[in-house]
Amino acid sequence: MNDNASLTSHSPIASDGDGFLLHDEDRAAILEERDHYEQPQAACIEALKIVQRRHGWVPDGAIPAIAEVLGVGPASVEGVATFYSLIFRQPVGRHVILICDSSSCFLTGFDELREAITAELGIEFGQTTPDGRFTLLPVCCLGACDRGPAMMIGDDTFGPVPPDAVAELLKEYS
């Protein structure tokens, strides 16, 4: 099992979403989460994150599977899955890049950083590189404003990231 603090990092084997099967370890982890709360629905977000840590995203088949484990309706799981910005409902790259687009970073070079990354990778926000290596997304203030412009790659936070350091930095993530 991956580090359970992890946000967008996931196992290298990404699923295509067909014939979804909930992994036994994940089922156990979801059941354990459930016990932290008064009602099972509360474990829903963590359950989605557990699935995402394994598959990289939340395939459609995961929704009824999670609903079944928690004993709640699939519609309520789906409603939650589509609300939160860091639950991915389509495949993402091996590494998700989150660039802070909030005010302090805007004032300290967000535009230049975004341009350097889009130029380096040839993708815009919301897209994944054709080789499946990176997905690029904007994110709310990362709480790293004293070192803007800030960004995350997988679970790692960086800042300030000068545009000319982008190529070197991305090399670390294969």
Binding site: E38, L48, S85, G143, A144, C145, D146, A150, T157, G159
Partner: protein, 456 residues
């Protein structure tokens, strides 16, 4: 020169030497190490950690704790400044009422805010101790730390600290032999700024979409799973141990006459200054002092304007730098203290562009429940984008003003929309000429020829 990837890694950092930070004057940060490493249980206990829990549990009543907190007047550090003691006194308890919950709001996503991260990553035991005391006062059976999903290092630090505290008997049954049972779980989020609004946070904790709830009932009456629930910010809760250890009078005295409020504040500065960072200073310290510590504006530029406490506070001018940074003072100048972390804007930076950036944030992060917020914010954004490109039309500024009124207090279920209105209204009030330039600017080839930053 290119920097190596390792040197680009972000580490939360306090800008004060250990010599400056004393237990008597810096209740939030005196234990923090110069190297910024995590304070584990052993070190925390060596440095008077859990002393307040030992002093209070089983020896004072919950109502005594609330009384001390009321007298200390610890004002909510999440941004609204509501007295924690007063909030706690409104939590329903007693009779045959079931015990409720205490929830720490560690969702920190307010643009320009990076203070709770420091406390979470480097001193999670202080928060846990504050939550035990808060749980005791509010008769909570359980605590949750609602942490934004992106704070990976904080999640690791907090999980480790909860485990250590449990193993040492600071969490669990019969804490320190007092008969008080209480435990804490970490709940990590999955994005969305609105989760930080306290009733949206409760919905999110319950595994639902993070729409705020209608109030009343307030969380203290009916919160998580219908039980009385207290929601407090990380920094607020981190003040509790020292208040209980040293008393309300001591806490009041910390501000040294700079403010009617007591205690210290984790202040910060971001934007183009020489030394961005965080400092624990008496509440009521002036922005001028902070700017001084931040080494002034970078590159020899002049200061144009500043936000006192995040994206949902109002713009202030250089002439306001001498004001005391406390809730009541800043509230008198068309702004709010908010989180107390300054965002600095220099003379060459466009206010219209910055407000466009802020309103894009608020529009994207609206939960969509109330019409002024769901529809008014995208409309606001569109107008700002056209002004930014020099494509504004006569009447646009008046329209923005009326949108700011419609977004204002009392018209929506939560304070997200009023938070969006404040920078909008205040920027037009102070910098109307920059908005006007977006209408009168030459109009040819506007898309290919945006108004350069600083020209408007």
């Amino acid at each position: 020169m290119t920097s190596s990837p390792a040197s680009l890694r972000y580490h939360s950092q306090l800008r004060q030497s250990a010599a400056e930070r004393l237990a008597e004057t810096h209740p939030l940060t005196w234990r923090l190490r110069e190297d910024g490493a995590l304070i584990g249980l052993e070190e925390y206990v060596e440095k008077e950690g859990y002393a307040a829990v030992k002093k209070v549990l089983g020896k004072q009543s919950g109502q005594d704790v609330i009384g001390t907190m009321k007298e200390a007047n610890v004002r909510g550090r999440g941004g609204a400044g509501f007295s924690a003691g007063v909030k706690w006194s409104l939590t329903m308890q007693g009779g045959d009422l079931a015990r409720g919950y205490i929830v720490c709001n560690a969702d920190e996503m307010e643009p320009g805010t990076f203070k709770d991260r420091l406390l979470l990553e480097q001193q999670p035991h202080l928060l846990i101790e504050g939550m035990i005391l808060g749980g005791y006062a509010n008769n909570s059976c359980y605590g949750y730390i609602f942490l934004r999903g992106e704070y990976i290092e904080a999640a690791r630090a907090v999980s480790r600290a909860i485990g250590e505290a449990r193993a040492a008997g600071w969490l669990g049954k019969n804490i320190a032999g007092s008969g008080f049972d209480f435990d804490i779980a970490l709940h990590t989020g999955a994005g969305r700024y609105i989760c930080g609004e306290e009733t949206a946070l409760i919905n999110s904790l319950e595994g639902k979409r993070a729409n705020p709830r209608n109030k009343p009932p307030f969380p203290g009456q009916s919160g998580a799973w219908g039980k009385p629930t207290v929601v407090n910010n990380v920094e607020t809760l981190c003040n509790v141990p020292a208040v209980m250890q040293h008393g309300a009078k001591w806490y009041q005295g910390l501000s040294g006459g700079l403010s009617d409020d007591g205690g210290t504040k984790l202040y910060g500065v971001s934007g183009r200054v020489n030394r961005t960072g965080l400092w624990e200073l008496p509440i009521g310290t002036s922005a001028a002092e902070l700017m001084d510590r931040a080494g002034g504006v970078r590159d020899g530029r002049a200061l144009k304007t500043w936000l006192p406490g995040g994206g949902s506070t109002g713009f202030l001018l250089p002439e306001h730098l001498e004001l005391a940074l406390d809730f009541d003072t800043i509230g008198q100048y068309g702004s709010r203290l908010g989180t107390g972390l300054l965002t600095v804007v220099t003379e060459d930076q466009s206010v219209v562009s910055l407000v466009r950036n802020l309103e894009a944030f608020f529009a994207r992060e609206s939960c969509g429940w109330c019409t002024p917020c769901r529809d008014g914010l995208p409309w606001t954004l569109k107008i700002l984008q056209s002004l930014e490109r020099g494509e504004g039309e006569q009447g646009d500024i008046e329209l923005l003003e009326s949108l700011a009124t419609d977004l204002g207090p009392g018209r929506t279920f939560c304070a997200h929309a009023p938070g969006a209105a404040m920078p909008l209204e205040s920027s037009i009030r102070h910098f109307r000429h920059e908005f006007e330039a977006g209408i009168t600017h030459r109009r040819h080839a506007a898309h290919a020829d945006p108004i350069p930053v600083g020209e408007v």
